[in-house]
C-alpha cells in the first residue's frame, strides 16, 4: 500500500511530463478538430504554435529536408549497400568517379572483336582488321595510342596494370602507358633480341612485360627487382611456348605441354600438381589469377591449384575435374580474383571472388551461343554468335576510390552512419548529463550548486579539442575498433555537458522564483515533483534547441577528431578519417573526389542540422514573432 503510494506520484509526474513533450509535436488532435474556426483562432496550444511557426520558416524546412535526405542516404544506404571492412583492391587505388569501364566503342563491335585485354581501370580491344581501341578510365596516358600502332596492323595485344603491349603483323613490338619501370616501352636490349627472334606470345603483369619468342625463350622487363622475373632459369629457356602473368609471378607452358612456374617464391600458386609438370596430363593453356593457377588440358578439362580463399576454388558443377558430369572447355581466362571458362556447350562459367559481381555471368551467355570470352582484372566481356557483346563485372566506381582502392561511395555511406551515430549518441549523453546537473544545481542551490558548478568549471576549463584528443589517446589505447567508437561517443559526451548545464541552471534559477513554483510548494508538493512536473517543462524548449545545435557541433568535432587520427580509425570509415590522407598537395590537386565529397557530406549535414536548430529556436522564441 505504502509502496504504491510512493511510486505513483513519480509515475504521474513522468506521464504528465510525457504529455507536455507530446503536446509540443501534436498538430490538430481529434479534440481540436471538432472546434469551430473562431475557437481555434482563440486558443492555440504552445506546441501547435511552435510547429506552425517552424513549418512557416522556409530555411527550417530546407534544413529538415536536407537532414531527412542525408539520414535516408546514410542509414537507408547502409542497409542496401553491404560493407566489408577489409574490402579494397590496391590495383584500384585513386580512381576517379566513373561508370564506363565496360563501355566498348561501337567501332570495335562493328569491326568484329579479335581480343580484349584490361588494365586496372581500362580495357584495350583489338578488332578483326587489326585496329586497337581503348576505353574505360585513363591512367598513365594509356589512351595515347602511338601513331605507329594506329597505322600498322596489330595481331596481338596485352595489358598490365597501367601499360599496354601490341605486336604488329610485321613482328614489331610496341608498348605505351606507365613507364616507371620501363614496362611501358621496349628497351634496347629487348629490341635487339627481337631483331633475331620472332615473338610468339606477349603479356603484361602488374608492372612488368614479357615476350616469348619462336626459339622458346622468355624475356621479362619492367619492375622485376622484387620478384626476379627477368632472370629466367636455363632449364626453362628454349622450351617455352606461352605464358600467363600474375602479379609477381608467371605460369609458363612448355613445348611438351607441361606447366612451369617462374617468379617470386613462397606463393601458393607455385604448388603446381605433379601430373601437370611431368607430362602425364598434356596442357594447352594456362592462366593465373593472383595466387591461383588454372590449366586447360588437351582434352578440354580444367585443373586448378593454389590459394583457396575468396571462393577461388569453389569450382562450379560440370567444371571441376573431379565431377563425373564434367564437360570439355574451349577457353579459360583469369581475372584478378576469379576465373571464367567457356564450355564446349557454348555456355560461360565463372567462379571465385564476387566483390564487383565479376562471377555473375549474364543469362545471355548461358544460352549456348557464346563464341569467345575476354576477362582481365574485374572486367569481363563475352562475344555471342551474332557479334554482339555482353559485359559483366566492374563497371566503375561512381564516386571514385581512395588510396587503398576502397570505394568512396560505400565509405561515404558507412562513414556517415558512424559519424552521425557517434554525434547523436554523444549529444544524448551530454544532454542527459547537462540537464540532470543543471536541474540539481539550479533547484537545490547553495553548496550543491557551488560544487556542481565548480565541477562544470573544471570540465569546461580545458580547451575542447586538445582535451578530446588527449582523452582519446589516453583512453582508447587497448580497445578494439567497436569499443573505440563507443569510447569516442562517451568522451565527446562527458566533456560537452557544462554549457547546457549552465543554461539549464540559469533558467531554473529564474523559474524557481516564479509564483507558480511558490504555489506548488505552498500546496505541499514534494520538490522532486515540482522539478519534474512544474519546472522541467519550462526548460524543455531550451534543451531541444540546444540538443539540435550541439548535434551539428558534435558532427564537426567527430569529423575533426577522426581527421587528426584520434577518433574513428581505419579500416572503419568516418567522414573525418576519409580526409586524413587528403592533406598532401598532390591529393588535393589530382584526387579531388577523395576530399571534396566527405567534406561536403559533413558540411551538408551540419548545415541542415543548424538550419533545423535555428528554425526551432525562432519558432519557440516568442520574441522572434514580434517583428
Amino acid at each position: 500500500m505504502s509502496n504504491s503510494n510512493k511510486t505513483n506520484p513519480y509515475l504521474k509526474s513522468l506521464k504528465s511530463f510525457g504529455r507536455t513533450i507530446g503536446s509540443l509535436f501534436t498538430f490538430g488532435s481529434a479534440k481540436t478538430s471538432k472546434r469551430s474556426v473562431l475557437e481555434e483562432e482563440a486558443i492555440t496550444s504552445p506546441g501547435k504554435t511552435i510547429v506552425k511557426n517552424f513549418f512557416r520558416n522556409k530555411l527550417a524546412i530546407t534544413g529538415l529536408t536536407g537532414l531527412i535526405l542525408m539520414t535516408v542516404f546514410v542509414f537507408g544506404g547502409s542497409q542496401v549497400v553491404p560493407f566489408n571492412l577489409l574490402a579494397g583492391e590496391w590495383a584500384h587505388k585513386n580512381l576517379p568517379p566513373s561508370n564506363n569501364m565496360l563501355k566498348l566503342p561501337n567501332a570495335l563491335i562493328t569491326a568484329g572483336i579479335d581480343d580484349i585485354v584490361s588494365g586496372r581501370s581500362f580495357s584495350v580491344g583489338l578488332d578483326k582488321s587489326g585496329k586497337v581501341h581503348v576505353w574505360g578510365v585513363e591512367v598513365s596516358d594509356v589512351f595515347s595510342i602511338p601513331q605507329e600502332v594506329q597505322s600498322s596492323t596489330i595481331v596481338k595485344i596485352a595489358a598490365g596494370d597501367e601499360h599496354v603491349l601490341a605486336l604488329s603483323s610485321t613482328g614489331k613490338l610496341y608498348a605505351w602507358g606507365n613507364n616507371s619501370f620501363e614496362q611501358g616501352s621496349v628497351p634496347m636490349s629487348i629490341g635487339n633480341i627481337l631483331m633475331l627472334e620472332n615473338v610468339v606470345d606477349i603479356g603484361g603483369g602488374d608492372i612488368y612485360s614479357y615476350v616469348i619468342t619462336d626459339k622458346g625463350r622468355l624475356y621479362v622487363w619492367g619492375g622485376t627487382l622484387s620478384n626476379g622475373l627477368d632472370i629466367v632459369p636455363t632449364r626453362l629457356q628454349g622450351r617455352l611456348v606461352s605464358g600467363g602473368a600474375s602479379t609477381v609471378s608467371m605460369l609458363l607452358l612448355t613445348n611438351d605441354q607441361t606447366v612451369e612456374y617462374h617468379g617470386a617464391r613462397g606463393t601458393q600458386i607455385a604448388d603446381i600438381p605433379a601430373y601437370l609438370m611431368n607430362g602425364n596430363v598434356k596442357v594447352q593453356k594456362v592462366v593465373a589469377s593472383i595466387y591461383t593457377g588454372l590449366a586447360l588440358d588437351t582434352n578440354g578439362f580444367i585443373h586448378q591449384w593454389g590459394f583457396a580463399g575468396n571462393g577461388m576454388r569453389d569450382v562450379p558443377e560440370k567444371v571441376s575435374f573431379n565431377d563425373p558430369n564434367r564437360i570439355a572447355f574451349q577457353d579459360i581466362r583469369a581475372g584478378r580474383r576469379h576465373f571464367v571458362a567457356l564450355g564446349s556447350d557454348g555456355n560461360v562459367y565463372a567462379w571465385g571472388d564476387n566483390e564487383f559481381g565479376q562471377i555473375e555471368v549474364p543469362a545471355a551467355l548461358k544460352q549456348g551461343k557464346t563464341v569467345s570470352i575476354h576477362t582481365d582484372f574485374y572486367q569481363n566481356y563475352g562475344v555471342l554468335e551474332d557479334g554482339s557483346v555482353v559485359t559483366w563485372g566492374l563497371n566503375g566506381f561512381i564516386l571514385g576510390t581512395d588510396d587503398n582502392g576502397k570505394d568512396i561511395f560505400t565509405r561515404l555511406i558507412h562513414g556517415g552512419r558512424i559519424t552521425m551515430t557517434v554525434g547523436a549518441v554523444a549529444v544524448l549523453i551530454s544532454t542527459f548529463l547537462g540537464v540532470l546537473i543543471g536541474l540539481i544545481a539550479g533547484f537545490y542551490g547553495k553548496w550543491v550548486d557551488n560544487l556542481l558548478m565548480r565541477f562544470a568549471e573544471i570540465v569546461s576549463s580545458f580547451p575542447f579539442l586538445p582535451l578530446a584528443i588527449t582523452l582519446s589517446a589516453f583512453l582508447t589505447g587497448q580497445l578494439d575498433q567497436n569499443q573505440r567508437i563507443l569510447m569516442i561517443m562517451v568522451i565527446l559526451g562527458i566533456i560537452s555537458w557544462p554549457g547546457l548545464a549552465r543554461l539549464v541552471r540559469g533558467q531554473i534559477l529564474a523559474e524557481r522564483e516564479k509564483e507558480f513554483v511558490l504555489a506548488a510548494r505552498a500546496l505541499g508538493i514534494k520538490s522532486n515533483k515540482v522539478i519534474l512536473r512544474h519546472i522541467l517543462p519550462n526548460v524543455i524548449n531550451l534543451v531541444i534547441v540546444s540538443m539540435t545545435l550541439s548535434y551539428a557541433g558534435s558532427l564537426l568535432t567527430e569529423a575533426g577528431l577522426s581527421f587528426l587520427g584520434f577518433g574513428v580509425v581505419p579500416p572503419n570509415p568516418s567522414w573525418g578519417n576519409m580526409l586524413t590522407g587528403a592533406q598532401r598537395p598532390e591529393v588535393i590537386q589530382f584526387y579531388w573526389w577523395r576530399w571534396i565529397l566527405p567534406a561536403l557530406a559533413v558540411l551538408f549535414t551540419a548545415l541542415s542540422v543548424n538550419l533545423v536548430g535555428d528554425g526551432l529556436r525562432e519558432a519557440m522564441d516568442p520574441r522572434a514573432n514580434e517583428k
Binding site: 565548480r454 568549471e457 573544471i458 569546461s460 576549463s461 580545458f462 580547451p463 579539442l465 586538445p466 582535451l467 584528443i469 588527449t470 589517446a473 589516453f474 589505447g477 587497448q478 551539428a552 564537426l556 569529423a559 575533426g560 581527421f563 587528426l564 587520427g565 584520434f566 573525418g576 580526409l579 587528403a582 592533406q583 598537395p585 588535393i588 590537386q589 576530399w595 567534406a599 561536403l600 559533413v602 558540411l603 551540419a606 548545415l607 542540422v609 543548424n610 538550419l611 535555428d614 520574441r623 517583428k627
Partner: protein, 324 residues
C-alpha cells in the same frame, strides 16, 4: 573588489588541486615504462642493464610512492620545471616555448581579424534586420558554423597554393629567423592561409553572437526612450546600444584568450604550422606524456584565469554587476 578577487583565487586552489590530481592519476595509469625507452642501446649484460635501469628510475623519481611522486611533481611545476621530453631529451619548457609562440602569433592575428570584421558586421546586421546585408551574413555565418575547419583549409590550399600558386601550401619559412625584414616578408607568406582559415572559422560564431547581443539590446525600453527623445540614430546605436552589447562580447573575448594559447590542432596540422596543437598531437603519438601533462595543466590554469578575468571584465563594463 579586492575581497571578491581574494575569494575567487582561494576558490581556485581546490579546483586546480583536483585537476592536477586527475591529470597526474591519468598519466600514471598509462601503460608503458618510460625508463625502458631511455636506456642506452648498447648494454652488454643484465647486471649493467639493471644498473642503468635503477639509475634512471631514481633520476626520474619513479622509485618513490605515487603520492610522493605527485608532491615532487607539483613542487617542480611550482619552480617552473616541467620535466623532460622523452622524444628529444630536452626540457619540456624548451620543447613547448617556440611552438607556443607560433600559435599565439597565429591565433592573435585571426582573433583580431575576426573581431575587426564581426563587430561592425554584427551591429549593422542587427540594426538593419532582414535587409539583404543581414540575410547575406546570416547565411554566411550559418555556413561558417557548419563547415569543417579542414575543408576551409583544403579549399584555400587548392585555390591559392595549387591553382594560383601565389602562396605556399604550408610549413614554415626555410630561412633562419634573423629578425630581418626579408624574413618577416617570407614568414608572412606562410601565415596568410592559416590565419584566413582560422578567421573564417571563428567569424561565423562571433558575428552571430554580436548580432544577437545587439538585437537583444535594441529591443530594450531605454532604446525606445532614447529614440523618443529624438536622439540621433548613430548616437543611439553606438553609445546607448553598443556599450550595453559589449557585456556579452566580453565573454567572447575572454573565451578567445584560451583559444589564443590552445592552438588549433586541425589548422596547424593541415598547414604544417609548427604550433602548440601539433606539439600535442606529436607528443601523444610519440607517447611523450610529460609534454602532454604539462600542456594540460597549463591549459587548465590558463582558462581558470581567463574565467576570473571575465568576471572582473563584467564588473568593469557593467556597473550593475556586483562582485560578491
Amino acid at each position: 573588489m579586492l575581497k571578491f578577487l581574494l575569494k575567487r583565487i582561494i576558490l581556485l586552489i581546490p579546483v586546480i588541486f583536483i585537476i592536477s590530481v586527475m591529470l597526474f592519476g591519468m598519466f600514471k595509469l598509462m601503460p608503458g615504462d618510460p625508463v625502458i625507452l631511455m636506456l642506452p642501446p648498447d648494454l652488454r649484460s643484465q647486471a649493467e642493464r639493471d644498473f642503468y635501469y635503477n639509475a634512471y628510475r631514481e633520476k626520474l623519481g619513479l622509485d618513490k610512492s605515487i603520492p610522493e611522486q605527485y608532491v615532487a611533481w607539483v613542487g617542480n611545476i611550482a619552480r617552473l620545471d616541467f620535466g623532460t621530453s622523452i622524444t628529444n631529451n630536452r626540457p619540456v619548457r624548451e620543447v613547448i616555448a617556440r611552438p607556443l609562440r607560433n600559435s599565439i602569433v597565429l591565433n592573435s592575428f585571426s582573433i583580431v581579424f575576426a573581431f575587426i570584421i564581426s563587430i561592425p558586421v554584427g551591429i549593422k546586421s542587427a540594426v538593419k534586420r532582414h535587409s539583404f546585408f543581414d540575410s547575406f551574413w546570416q547565411v554566411f555565418s550559418l555556413v561558417g558554423l557548419s563547415i569543417p575547419v579542414f575543408f576551409i583549409g583544403l579549399i584555400l590550399i587548392y585555390a591559392f597554393a595549387i591553382q594560383l600558386r601565389i602562396l605556399p601550401a604550408g610549413g614554415m619559412p626555410r630561412m633562419t629567423d634573423d629578425g630581418s625584414f626579408r624574413y618577416f616578408l617570407e614568414w608572412s607568406r606562410y601565415i596568410v592561409l592559416p590565419v584566413t582559415t582560422l578567421t573564417i572559422g571563428s567569424l561565423a560564431g562571433t558575428t552571430r553572437y554580436v548580432r544577437n547581443a545587439m538585437i537583444e539590446i535594441i529591443g530594450k525600453d531605454f532604446i525606445r526612450t532614447a529614440r523618443s527623445k529624438g536622439l540621433n540614430e548613430k548616437v543611439i546605436i553606438y553609445t546607448h546600444a553598443f556599450r550595453n552589447a559589449l557585456i556579452p562580447v566580453v565573454t567572447l573575448v575572454a573565451g578567445s584568450l584560451v583559444a589564443l594559447f590552445g592552438g588549433s590542432a586541425i589548422t596547424e596540422s593541415i598547414f604544417a604550422w609548427n604550433g602548440i596543437g601539433r606539439v600535442l598531437i606529436d607528443s601523444l603519438n610519440n607517447r611523450d606524456y610529460m609534454v602532454v601533462l604539462t600542456m594540460n595543466i597549463f591549459y587548465a590554469v590558463l582558462s581558470l584565469t581567463a574565467n576570473l578575468i571575465m568576471d572582473i571584465g563584467y564588473a568593469l563594463v557593467d556597473p550593475r554587476v556586483k562582485l560578491n
